[in-house]
Amino acid sequence: MADSTETLLETPLAALHRELGGRMVPFAGYAMPVQYPAGILTEHLQCRETAALFDVSHMGQAELVGEGAAAALERVTPADVQILKPGRQKYGLLTMADGGILDDFMVANLGDRLFLVVNASRKHVDLPYIESVLPAGVTLKPLPDRALIALQGPQAVASIATLAPGIAELGFMGVGSFNIAGVPVLVSRSGYTGEDGVEISVPADLAEGFARTLLALPGVHPAGLGARDSLRLEAGLCLYGNDIDETTSPVEAALTWTLGKRRRTEWNFPGAERVREELANGTKRLRVGIKPDGRQPARGHTPIHAPGGAAIGEITSGGFGPSLNGPMAMGYVARDHAADGTALDLMVRGKAIPARVAPMPFVPHRYAR
């Protein structure tokens, strides 16, 4: 996170954010809108009700080109990349030699190349890490001249499909190239809200006009990072730097579903030794969902205790879910306190708030089939 005295980077939509009344805050070195005049609560609910447009251009985009690109990428991830068919995308983790998580990312098979999206705060470590394992003939090409726009919500696909009908044909995690209002874009049916929707990679110099085109569609409202965070937490999705980091393993983070089946027979990814041991014997701690009783939110870094007892963990993300209409959190707890329904005490400002381990997502996903 950049200090506020440093010069912040801007996305290609910076002028539009200001015009829309966005409240700009520093995030991962960028000036980003945390909210617009409607406010986080309204923006959140609009996303669940109709459609919300998010600028996520701060995220890192890159292409991996060359014979054997998928096998090369598998040198830094336990995901099965080679199984990914053209026109399909998947979520995965970049792992480190000690089994920690370097980042989480999306990879799409575009037929002649792979397309990657990584976190803004991690792109400076991810890209050199990937580059360091590439064989001759495979090239990583950062795409700093592209913006990324997420359109999320139950009306998102129907709205954008009025401009490019083929988008409605994409399945969940499907990817395709389209021309929308004269702009060549890459569209994936995915997102970070739990809703149906798309993420659209756009040439930076055409991004503002493109965003205006989307905002003019019926039911589409701008939403900032605040709503993005409450939406993803309701959806039970991890935020790198909060819920997963270099110290957490894929098993501790309850992200074992991202480990490819074939990769679990080969054990040739960074950190395989730790992951294998943890899958066999269990971990000391696990990431779980947590629902505080009552209305009071418990934020990140809140200590978690056994009821009336000792510290057993810590909240990593916590807040108030506008659609849930109540507080919610995720965090790590000792393994014997990780079962759904287990009673916990959350130590907020010295007072114990009763809570329970709860299944995630807190609000059901509504992805396209």
């Binding site: 945390v34 986080i40 609560l41 605040g226 939110p297």
Partner: protein, 124 residues
């Protein structure tokens, strides 16, 4: 009812019949965003000026609310538990937080007047 006074912590204070009513300013509620929870002090608690005695939680974050003057808490706005959004919609009326019996009513006179508070907000 007397003149409303303000603090640099963005509380307002209004003395009425020897009891000071305290809330947060419109500037403060706007900066906080949508309020979803408020933690109010216990009635009867003796507080000192500048002491953090209440917490207001928005969707975004938790913020302390300070006692603008020393005294005893004599009443809290229980209606906020069910309708914390009142703090956003009516911060200086129905969205009041607590009432203090001042240890020294003179402390209130020393707080910022409306013009001085507005001038202070302009510097932020």
């Amino acid at each position: 009812m007397s003149e409303t006074k303000f603090t640099k912590d963005h509380e307002w204070v209004r003395l009425d019949g020897g009891i000071a009513t305290v809330g947060i300013t419109d500037h403060a509620q706007n900066a906080l965003g949508d309020v979803v929870f408020v933690d109010l002090p216990e009635i009867g608690r003796e507080v000192t000026a500048g002491e953090a005695i209440a917490v207001v939680e928005s969707v975004k974050a938790a913020s302390d609310v300070y006692a603008p003057i020393a005294g005893k808490i004599v009443e809290v706005n229980g209606a906020l538990s069910d309708n914390p959004g009142t703090i956003n919609s009516a911060p200086t009326t129905d969205g009041w937080f607590f009432k203090i019996e001042p240890a020294d009513a003179g402390e209130i006179a020393a707080l910022l007047d409306e013009a001085a508070y507005a001038a202070y907000v302009d510097t932020l």
